[in-house]
């Protein structure tokens, strides 16, 4: 179980680090075992930053990240390496994730060097073959090759296999399929879902809502470093409440509905008001009255021959 408790990341920018740039603010999330949580946000939302903090690639400014009760931020040396046995990551660009001058299998050798020194060659090769097969790759086709000889989908699955060589319990998947072709995306996605059945937890970072819907139990919507909405995936998608989430749901291009239809649907949801002001949802006033949601204002006279059905304005005009 990995949990984030009021985690923040603030960067110092400007000359001599004068200004502060908050990339992540006060994020609280929990990913239980065997669950996939989607972290959905656009660019600049801080989603990758959260992933990197979990992987200890970026330092945590405030708050705590705990994995099975241990404070991740405090880990050092041996303890940190043991952490990496259970928690790993796969990133967005498959071609950038491999050092271009080495063969792709080198990523396995690095793992062996740091975690499985004592293992015999034969045992190691068996382990590698098993890992490759569990991600749907044929060892004969993908071993001993350079990264540019493999496809993006194969490279990403190769990296998942690498993570599986360890005792993986938590995977940070940062936009892992956004650079893949449409027909290979679903294979990697299905692979994650299968691994989830076997007890793996995944933080699925993405900007693509339809992917989030397909495999995650819970979804967290991130905007400018803050979680604006969080909960069960179906609830977030079918009844978004936060204006940003609603905007996202309206804007994402879908294959089953046109934009206009989605907008109408979402508007219809909030117009489900049998009481209260009919314009409440679209009202742009900064301060709405306490009654606006529940009491439907009738026409109120503000000056001779001039009436308005708005409790707030009527009150102002009169005073």
């Amino acid at each position: 179980m990995l949990s984030l408790d009021r985690v923040s990341k603030t960067y110092r920018v400007g000359t001599f680090g004068g200004k502060l740039l908050p990339a992540v603010s006060d994020v609280t999330l929990g990913i239980p075992d065997g669950e996939v949580v989607s972290l959905i946000g656009e660019s600049g939302s801080g989603k990758s930053t959260i992933g990197k903090m979990i992987l200890r690639l970026i330092s945590i400014t405030d708050g705590t990240i705990t994995f099975d009760g241990t404070d991740v931020g405090a880990l050092k040396n041996r303890a940190l390496r043991d952490y990496y046995r259970s928690v790993q990551g796969v990133f967005q660009d498959p071609f950038s994730s491999y050092n271009p001058i080495f063969k792709a299998d080198r990523v396995f050798d690095v793992v062996r060097d740091h975690f499985y020194r004592g293992l015999r060659d034969r045992d190691w090769e068996q382990k590698v073959d098993d890992a490759l097969e569990s991600v749907g790759l044929n060892p004969d086709h993908v071993l001993n090759k350079y990264p540019h000889q493999l496809s993006g989908g194969q490279l990403q699955r190769f990296l998942i296999a690498r993570a599986l060589l360890l005792d993986l319990r938590f995977l940070v998947a940062d936009e892992i399929i956004s650079m893949l072709d449409a027909s290979t995306r679903i294979d990697v996605l299905n692979l994650l879902a299968d691994l989830k059945e076997r007890g793996l937890s995944v933080l699925f970072i993405t900007h693509d809502l339809s992917l989030g819907y397909y495999i995650s139990e819970k979804a967290a919507i991130l905007y400018r470093g803050c979680v604006v909405e969080y909960g069960k995936t179906e609830k977030i998608y079918t009844r978004p409440i936060h204006p940003y989430t609603k905007m996202l749901m309206e804007s994402v291009p879908r294959l089953d509905k046109k934009w206009e239809d989605v907008e109408i649907e979402l508007r219809a949801q909030q117009d489900d008001l049998s009481s209260g002001c009919v314009y409440y949802a679209r009202c742009t006033r900064k301060e709405k009255g306490a009654d606006c949601r529940t009491v439907r204002p009738g026409l109120i006279e503000v000056e001779p021959d001039h009436q308005v059905a708005c409790g707030c304005i009527a009150g102002e005009e009169r005073t």
Binding site: A182, N190, Y213, P253, R254
Partner: protein, 320 residues
């Protein structure tokens, strides 16, 4: 405007030989049509769109013709295409928004571009301002440097620039890929707006994102490994495709409302062939569940229903 592409074949010259990137493309577009050009990486969609506007080495024009409004375009000759480029056919290249000269103010850049085409900016300035209003950009953007604009603003700027001279045909190459979801919607909407207002007559939208095409395209042309697979109106491609590749592609796309636990989607096993030495006949044959010996011959791109073309023996035969 009408576009007629006839047997267009374009290869790339490399040290190891010719990469057969586009093979025998034949299709047409009507006036006012927004056609989506979709396919996965290596399918030839960029090659096709580049051939229409800048067929330069290492690309080689092997054969085929392109007719714009009945006139044959000299696509094989870069110099000769100069008088069509930007005026009759224009392009919003991929990554264009990041390709603006960072040391030039936008207005200056536009001025230089226009002067290179023999147009004085003073004459076109009022129209330019009108276009900026259309895409909801303030006029003072002309005095800014590219770095001061957001991604969406840059993309809109580039779109204004590419359509300034009212081209008949606009090629929009992955214009929404690098944008946030909300900006994508705005930019896609603007593209349709340009067509509706008559600024451009027809548009070819090149992308791998089928859902954007569902939202704004009138018709979709699916390509695979350099060959045309299927062309039909959007509803047909998305809901009732006939080509095996199109079918498998559409069903492999996750949609909101489909969960893994309820319905497991399937991908297409295998990978696209290398085009240096492509397989004979239909290039999808090795991954196609319906392949048979006839597929060793290239299936023709036939019209199986009005406006619906498919290149597949199985489909073509049935309706023959």
């Amino acid at each position: 405007m009408s576009l007629q592409v006839d047997g267009l074949t374009v290869y790339y010259q490399t040290l190891q030989g010719d990469v057969r990137a586009l093979e025998n493309a034949t299709f047409s577009m009507a006036d006012g049509e927004i056609m989506g050009l979709a396919g996965e990486s290596g399918c030839g969609k960029s090659t096709l769109s580049n051939s229409l506007i800048l067929l330069a080495p290492p690309m080689k024009h092997v054969c085929g013709r392109v007719l714009l409004d009945g006139n044959e375009l000299p696509i094989g000759r870069v110099e000769a295409m100069n008088r069509y480029r930007f005026k009759e056919i224009s392009v919003v290249p991929q990554y264009a928004m990041n390709a603006m000269n960072p040391t030039r103010k936008i207005g200056k850049m536009i001025e230089e571009l226009l002067r290179a085409r023999g147009i004085e900016i003073r004459k076109i300035l009022p129209e330019l301002k009108r276009r900026l209003d259309l895409v909801e950009l303030k006029h003072n953007v002309l005095k800014m440097y590219p770095i001061e604009l957001s991604g969406g603003m840059k993309q809109r700027m580039v779109m204004v620039l590419s359509t300034l001279l009212d081209p008949s045909l606009l090629l929009a190459d992955e214009i929404t890929s690098a944008l946030d979801v909300s900006t994508q919607k705005a930019v896609a909407g603007m593209l349709v707006g340009f067509r509706d207002q008559g600024i451009v007559k027809s548009v070819i939208v090149i992308t791998h994102d089928m859902s954007i095409l569902y939202q704004i395209a009138d018709s979709i042309l699916i390509m695979y490994a350099g060959q045309l697979a299927e062309k039909a109106d959007t509803e047909t491609i998305i809901h009732t495709p006939r080509h095996p590749y199109t079918k498998m592609l559409i069903t492999s796309l996750p949609k909101v409302g489909v969960k893994h636990d309820e319905r497991r989607l399937a991908g297409i096993p295998g990978k696209p062939p290398l085009l240096l030495d492509p397989p004979e006949g239909c290039r999808f044959r090795e991954r196609c569940p319906h392949a048979h010996e006839r597929c060793l011959q290239v299936p023709p791109f036939v019209e199986i229903a009005p406006g619906h073309h498919v290149a597949c023996w199985k489909v073509g035969d049935k309706d023959a």
